[in-house]
Symmetry: C2
Subunit: 566 residues, 2 copies
């Protein structure tokens, strides 16, 4: 009889437990969880705070009782595994309710400890109005602080998934909110110019977004001293009413009444490290494609592990629920004699930012540059479905690829409709090893309410293939401000479109007049063409080069340039 011990009862651990039981009735399966809940919907926590998910109980997907009844898994909550003895193949468990300790043996051990919020050692950060959000008790504390302190202002530090979701939650609750982000952009999975769409949306919603701004210190001023034990106060932190004075990296000060630290997470590796398991350079538990650690009896999955990056083959840490769930299932397979291999992580991700979705898969430009990989990129802005049918929204799409082979490196999309779909298509195409040329042939669903006869992805593939075949020569938004004397700007939009902005010094000849007015342009200069999104620019480009001009077309047009500066 195989005895499987699982440490951590959320995504990866819970998936492994259920799968293991489906494979074997005989296996003994124990699952230890340090916190009071297993298998809760951690991705849903911000939405309960914001009130979109009204019932807290909906976040509790399983209980120890339901796991026992359905899967005959012995689930022990409030049970922290404090030590692994690899020689004896035992773990020591501390019962956090009564303080007692005991041991359990294992044949296979699964580590699914997750990751914990990074709290930097900022002066004054340890106060009762400052929270991070990882689990149900964290959520309850935030809700209690909101109820008790009735904040007139909240501050979120960190513009990643949780930070952005918390900003939206506070906005829904009518609490004016400041978002501090040390980098020059939110949502690091996408590149800076794509994040510009998010910045515009966040500011449009009235959020005080401060980029390039870090938190330097916190001063806490309690206003009363009524204790609230329900919200986790203790003798040291008994006040959850009061205000905080934040000092920022630019030495400005900001008064706030609720502070959320969401600058990132760090793998929980203490137990693995103490047990002498190999820890990688990125700070995660090293795993092989079978999800085994350096000890073949110990598997590890989820936010705590380093796995293989799908694109580069190098180690990566991607703390997301999808990989955690699939890895858990696979670890169970392998513990019970199957031979499954994890196929690498693309890092496919999406975040709702008010009405906008921001999503990506594969590598972004920053990563490709860091890794010294040669790439080309295209931008397309086009309707999420037939533009003549109500409800169409612009999909702003970026695709990165190998300029020689056409291999897909990554894709990013932002917009109000159909964003998840386009990135899913790209995630599948990338995983399947397709080239951008092959994407031209994709046959996607089309009816006016759902798509276009030539989908966003087809269009991006046409543009990319034009570049590869030499049918187009691109210029990008970040080159526009550094043009030489030998280049001139040509705006081929209609004059009426220029009132919303144009590039200084551009000549305006609408594309439909270009054939007649081409002689107004010099043949000895390179003509830098742009339109609103790049489509008419391409028509103009083809006219000009077919008539012997030198030209380039600004991919993504004025729209990409404009939002890159948001």
């Amino acid at each position: 009889m195989t005895k499987i011990v699982i440490i951590g009862g959320v995504a990866g651990g819970a998936s492994a437990a259920a799968r293991a039981r489906r494979l074997s009735e005989e296996a003994q399966i124990l699952m230890f969880e340090r916190g009071p809940f297993v298998s809760f919907a951690n991705c849903g926590l911000p939405y309960h705070i914001g009130g979109e998910i009204t019932e807290r109980s909906k976040l509790l997907l399983q209980t120890p009782e339901s796991f026992l009844a359905r899967f005959n898994v012995d689930v022990r909550v409030m049970s922290e595994v404090t030590h692994i003895d690899r020689q004896e193949k035992t773990v020591t468990i501390k019962n956090l309710t009564d303080g007692s300790e005991y041991q359990e043996s294992y044949d296979f051990l699964l580590l699914s400890p997750g990751a914990s919020p990074v709290i930097p050692p900022i002066e004054g950060i340890n106060n009762p109005l400052t929270h991070s959000l990882r689990n149900i008790p964290d959520m309850d504390k935030i809700l209690e602080t909101i109820a008790t302190n009735r904040p007139d202002h909240a501050t979120v530090v960190g513009g990643g998934f949780i930070g952005l979701e918390m900003v939206e939650a506070f906005h829904r609750l009518g609490i004016p909110t400041t978002l501090l982000e040390m980098a020059d952009q939110v949502m690091t999975p996408v590149d800076r110019e794509m994040a510009g769409f998010a910045h515009a949306e966040i500011r449009n919603q009235g959020i005080d977004l401060r980029l390039g701004t870090a938190l330097k210190s916190v001063q806490y001023a309690p206003t009363t001293s009524i204790a609230s034990e329900n919200s986790g106060e203790d003798e040291v932190h008994q006040h959850i009413q009061g205000e905080l004075t934040l000092t920022l990296s630019n030495d400005e000060q900001l008064t706030t009444e609720l502070l959320i630290m969401a600058i990132g997470v760090r793998p929980e590796i203490k137990l693995a490290q103490e047990a002498g398991l190999q820890i990688g350079a990125l700070g995660g538990i090293v795993t092989n494609p079978a999800m085994q650690t350096s000890d073949p009896s110990i598997y590890a999955v989820g936010d705590a592990v380093e796995e293989q990056d799908f694109v580069t083959g190098k180690p990566t840490i991607v703390p997301l629920a999808g990989p955690a769930n699939r890895q858990g299932r696979m670890a169970a397979d392998n513990m019970l004699g199957r031979n499954e291999t994890y196929q690498g992580t693309q890092g496919t991700a999406i975040c709702k930012i008010f009405d906008l979705a921001v999503a990506s898969t594969g590598k972004n430009e920053k990563q490709l540059q860091r890794d010294g990989i040669a790439y080309e990129k295209v931008y397309v802005h086009t309707a999420s479905h037939a533009s003549y049918y109500p409800g169409a929204e612009i999909v702003s799409f970026k695709m990165l690829f190998d300029p020689q082979s056409g291999k897909i490196f990554g894709a990013q999309a932002v917009g109000k409709d159909g964003i998840d779909k386009r990135i899913d298509v790209m995630a599948v195409a990338q995983r399947a090893g397709m080239t951008v040329e092959q994407l031209q042939h994709l046959e996607l669903t089309y009816a006016p309410p759902y798509g276009s006869a030539k989908d966003v992805i087809n269009q991006a593939a046409f543009v990319a293939t034009n570049l590869i075949k030499g049918d187009a020569v691109a210029i990008h938004y970040d080159e526009i401000d550094n043009l030489s004397e030998d280049q001139i700007l040509l705006d081929v939009r209609n004059p009426g479109e220029l009132k919303n902005g144009y590039l200084e010094g551009a000549v305006n000849i609408p594309v439909d007049q270009l054939r007649q007015r081409m002689n107004e342009l010099p043949k000895d200069k390179e003509i830098i063409i742009y339109c609103q999104v790049g489509l008419r620019g391409n028509v103009a480009y083809r006219q000009l080069v077919n008539n012997g001009y030198k030209a380039r077309n600004l991919l993504g047009g004025y729209r990409t340039y404009m939002f890159a500066n948001k």
Copy 2:
């Protein structure tokens, strides 16, 4: 200088014209269109009739003037090409406005004539209250009939895309509607049991849906004789007020005031046939992967052609806008010296049926059976996004695959949210040659508003892989009514769920009690397990077989069985 003549100015023809000009400034490009409009949004016509697209002008994407200005294409509307002289490489054009005829030479000819509605020779069908819908004039006539006859009842014959869209249009206008369909299902791209969801939705909306019912004859009774030349009346058909008495195949009679014939379309091959071009067994113009006809100077694209089926490699006719557009672009490439090959048609399609989307890609079960291809299938019903986040809807999903290799044959999905996305994912995966086992590893966008950590597609892949690996043995909905004495039915749902229906004779043991009550089940019979959607059934299946029972699980559960009978 290459002279390109294009016959037909909508999807394929217009795409070819624009692409040809982008490739060459020198080419002379002429486009002839028999009707008064080019490049109109034919997929949008039903939505303008129904009022969702309020402005008729939105359907007119391009005009001859805009084509000339942007692409220097000589567009001639109301110009019917009546003859092709392949030896001389000329076409004869009849100007439908003044009746004059003239000739034009060509270096390359592109046929993009489309398909025309099939109107069977039904007695009385030729009357002013009966219409089909292919183009703007057809749409205008229907609108005129509605305005003039103010129908209290409309009848649509044919439950394909246009028929279903017209039913919805009439419903939006408040006109009670009957839908007659000769087959036992609407939407033939999906299989009968998946169409059941559409049948339920159509009937829920109050539509009088009659399956297995054909139109036998029509009797027209005019009520006035006021002529309306605007609506296309002439001396013979001058009445658009009155009513029709329909006699149906079951000899029932039905009174209606507007009749739409939408039983299908037939390739327009008259011109090609008279020119001696090869016509295929399916009745379309034969093309090679370069989109060339049997005459290398003549290309053909769109609804009129036979192209290669992506899955079977056999000729197929798929009259959809996506393939037409891509083929047009590619034909232009090849006429101008490129070497592009069309990669086959999967037939990816989607239709909005009231709140439901019904979509498919690849081959369906009927086609696989007809072609004698061995297949397996799985059904999954699961939430379109995290079920704890508001707005989740059930995605009902069917996947067909090779039971040996796992190669994807096709997929179908029905539901109110996320249907286009799932079929797009499957269309890409199929085109890339992925197996169902590889689909387990797909890393799709996940955040609670958009998806689940284990997406519908991952789940379907798990089920399929379980079948391939022998971890599950399936029974399907259509075998349930023919169980033998050696099989017994086990319902593993909670007793409360049975009030909405159950299978006669089933024993009810909730899955969470099964381990305790397993001894109530016989070991000498095969236990046919079912739950609501198949998931708990699989848990029960694994328990039973791991304890030495013989069992099968009903894939898709009671839900598939129930809707198969709608």
